[in-house]
Symmetry: C2
Subunit: 129 residues, 2 copies
DNA sequence: CGCATTCTACGAATCATTTCGTATAATGCG
DNA sequence: CGCATTATACGAAATGATTCGTAGAATGCG
């Protein structure tokens, strides 16, 4: 039983766009387009259409005060990330989030600060037992 | 520059099938079908077709000695998982694997043993500095 | 042997996602 | 004002993933 409405998993392209919005903050289609287009070739109206669809789906809101609408994610970044993680954990890690964490940590160059951050989280988790 | 050929990211259905193979070991289409069909409704020939496509793509091998071919993953489980994690990290975590790890660990009920396992990994990682 | 069962192969429908062309409205500037 | 530029909206093609029907070959059993 969940208290919130089930959050739908965004498609790959939708995640790409959310990522830009997370990084840039509320943005116009053009701004998102400019950013995305640096990483991979994509047309302006393609981005526009995607964002319109996301608006219809309720993945983003938009402010229509100015001619160029300004889009913002509707869900918190962490919530969307959680949805994506849960899906991957379920599908490829037999439901075990810690296995995913283990795999993500190993062999990836993390700074000492980042490792410390994780330690800190572990301490926190154990306290709560 | 990678030493190995670029590993293609399996589709969702393909990951589902790989998951079954990881769990059951080398299996026939029917075995995979039986298992998968318990979780979600899916037709036998659908599974067959998927596995045939995976064979063509080089995601799995198969032993054709017996009439019912026996399929096995071609890549190590950990490698495939790594591919999936990398993709998600890139797409939704701004390239930061440790952020994904943090998110995966927090709020998920992990056993003390699992937490210890992660600590142990951290120790290991820090030693290598 | 002859039939029911179980396989593989394969084409093609269906469905989801991504892509973009075109129409048209708003804006800004010389 | 009139034109170039930049928006949105929208339909629909293109692509990718999933699904399944059907055909025909192998197997096993009475």
């Amino acid at each position: 039983m969940r208290s919130k409405a089930m959050e739908q998993k965004p498609t790959n392209s939708e995640v790409d766009i959310l990522s830009v919005l997370w990084r840039l903050g509320p943005s116009s289609v053009r701004e998102v387009y400019e950013d995305m287009n640096q990483r991979r070739e994509i047309g302006y109206t393609t981005v526009l259409k995607l964002m319109q669809i996301m608006f219809e789906k309720g993945l983003v809101t938009r402010n229509e005060d100015s001619r160029a609408h300004i889009y913002s994610p509707l869900q918190a970044q962490a919530d969307t990330q959680r949805t994506l993680i849960d899906d991957l954990v379920e599908r490829a890690f037999g439901g075990s989030a810690h296995k995913l964490a283990l795999n993500a940590l190993s062999s990836k160059k993390a700074t000492p600060e980042e490792l410390a951050e994780i330690r800190s989280l572990l301490d926190h988790l154990e306290e709560q037992k």
